[in-house]
């Protein structure tokens, strides 16, 4: 069953067509990679699905429900969250407070028992992402890698999370933190059945995580398949990887 369906989605900025009528879908429980050269429209696509940009054409459905007119907070309430390449933390709040925000915002119940349950989830996420020793610090004091971990942990605090969009989660991150992120994605996919759409240039990480990969070029979806399939696709090699790099990626 499809969790997300994107149909003929377009976005223009003045005369520039950033996304040009793309169509794809995600199965519930899938981990999909979205790759492409810089300026191919990946982040614009993420911004439209996440609700930050309004599309000029096409439609998006989450579990069959139209998303186009929904604000980002309404999408979060439906279980759709995202991360950004540059983490959007609440810098003056503590790391712990950062995790409380989405949990409280999307909580269906506001009783003391529900609050205790949220507090327990916060502590468990802090421990899993190895942020417990910095939980009391303002988020602005975290390193780039820790900020990315915080951003992912914060997304996972959304109640009823079903689709997690990640924009370049591995950019500029050291290997240890990269492993923690990969492990968290696999675990959340396995344990909570969360679907992931991951934009990344990090082919080794994409290969490790994603069963299928969609490739964008100049605002269009030019290929879809396993990492091996797209690595052998001449359109992709020409448009994105380049001959020698394509061989390296394979």
């Amino acid at each position: 069953m499809n969790l997300l369906a994107v149909e003929n989605l377009s976005k223009r900025f003045g005369g520039l067509v950033a996304v040009n009528g793309i169509t794809f879908s995600l199965r519930a429980g899938e981990i999909r990679g979205l790759i492409g050269p810089n300026g191919s429209g990946k982040s614009t696509t993420m911004n439209m699905i996440g609700g930050l940009y309004r599309p000029n054409g096409g439609r998006m459905l989450l579990n069959g429900r139209p998303l186009n007119r929904l604000q980002p907070y309404q999408r979060a309430a439906l279980g759709l969250v995202r991360t950004f390449q540059i983490p959007k933390s609440f810098g003056d709040m503590t790391v712990r407070e950062n995790l409380f925000v989405p949990a409280l915002a999307t909580a269906r119940e506001r009783s003391p028992a529900a609050f205790r349950a949220i507090a327990e989830r916060v502590e468990s996420q802090l421990a899993f992402f190895q942020l417990d020793h910095v939980a009391h610090l303002p988020a602005r004091q975290l390193s780039g890698g820790q900020s990315m971990l915080l951003q992912i942990a914060r997304g996972l605090m959304v109640e009823q999370l079903s689709l997690f969009l990640m924009d370049e989660p591995f950019a500029g991150i050291n290997e240890v933190i990269k492993s923690t992120i990969i492990e968290s994605i696999l675990r959340m996919n396995r344990e909570r059945g969360i679907t992931f759409l991951i934009v990344s240039h990090e082919m080794p990480s994409v290969r490790r995580l994603c069963e299928r990969v969609s490739v964008m070029h100049e605002g269009k979806l030019v290929a879809e398949g396993t990492v091996d399939e797209i690595g052998n696709n001449p359109v992709v090699i020409e448009a994105y990887l380049g001959g020698a790099n394509g061989a390296a990626a394979r």
Binding site: G51, P72, Y73, V81, K88, S89, G91, V101, A105, R110
Partner: protein, 296 residues
């Protein structure tokens, strides 16, 4: 210098600073949330003072003046919410890069409109409100009862405001919005709703200041002009968007005005604030607690 006299001057400065603080916190609160400057803050102050005058004269009587302050806050809070929804929110629709600037220009229009509306409805006259409290003393400082009550009210309101911001869910969401507007949306918070509430709280604080200071600065259409000027001086000194900065700057401005009036001349009272402002900007262009850059 005589120690008692010195203490009196410092205390007088602290009192004046606290009286300015409420207005400044309202201005900076709205700016930190919506990234816009509300030039009509003085008019909400003015409306708060008119409301207090009307409540005391026709409903509550002089002895129950203190009930007028929360009532002025509540009424202007609701008015602020609707003004934000009907007049300012349309400026934030769409993908314009200058929408906060458009909203700021709209507040200038509202300033002119409200000021003239007050002239139309109440005439260009000054109304006086009965004294809240007889003259008394604060330690070694002889102080007017009205100022003492206004100061106590300010401390009470700012304490409540701090507790609300620090310990409630709404306060946490508002802090999150001030720190990262995009981040708070994707965390599941409705920023449009928070914008309205933040605007309502900000103008409500101005109205409470107007109600508290009604017997000190009288009630008239331009009553909000001086508090607005002081409020803007304070937020620039403290750093635009910083509430702790506003509190410290308000006290600093009060002290500078008080000590300057005594040791130089009371005629230059307003000038001392601007000298402080220029001095701070020379060394810290973003103000004492100002952020160095905006976060999207």
């Amino acid at each position: 210098m005589d120690l008692t006299l010195g203490t009196q001057y410092v205390l007088a400065g602290v009192v004046i600073g606290l009286l300015y603080a409420l207005m400044a916190v309202g201005i900076t609160f709205i700016h930190s949330m919506m990234k816009m400057v509300n030039w009509s803050m003085g008019e909400y102050y003015m409306m708060g003072s008119y409301l207090q005058f009307a409540l005391i004269t026709y409903l509550l009587g002089p002895r129950l003046w203190f009930l007028g302050v929360p009532m002025a806050f509540a009424v202007l809070f609701v008015v602020g919410i609707y003004i934000q929804k009907l007049v300012l929110r349309p400026m934030f629709v769409g993908e314009s890069a200058r929408r906060d600037d458009f909203a700021t220009v709209v507040t200038i229009a509202m300033m002119v409109m409200f000021r003239n509306l007050a002239v139309v409805l109440g005439g260009p006259y000054q109304y006086s409100v009965p004294d809240y409290f007889p003259p008394t003393s604060l330690g070694p400082l002889p102080i007017s009862g009205n100022r003492l009550m206004a100061m106590a009210g300010t401390v009470l309101i700012l304490s409540g405001f701090y507790l609300f911001i620090k310990y409630t869910w709404f306060g946490t969401a508002l802090r999150g919005m001030a720190q990262n507007r995009v981040g708070i949306q994707t965390a599941g918070v409705d920023v449009k709703r928070l914008d309205s509430i933040a605007f309502g709280i900000g103008v409500g604080l101005a109205a409470a200041a107007g109600a508290l200071l009604a017997p000190v600065f009288l009630v008239w259409p331009e009553a909000g002009a001086v508090p607005t000027m002081k409020g803007f001086e304070i937020i620039v000194i403290g750093g635009l968007g910083s509430i702790p900065g506003s509190l410290v700057a308000a006290l600093l401005l009060g002290l500078v005005e008080s000590l300057g009036s005594v040791y130089v001349s009371a005629s230059y009272r307003d000038l001392f604030g601007f000298i402080l402002l220029i001095g701070v900007l020379l060394f810290r262009p973003t103000g004492l607690w100002g952020e160095r850059e905006r976060v999207a």
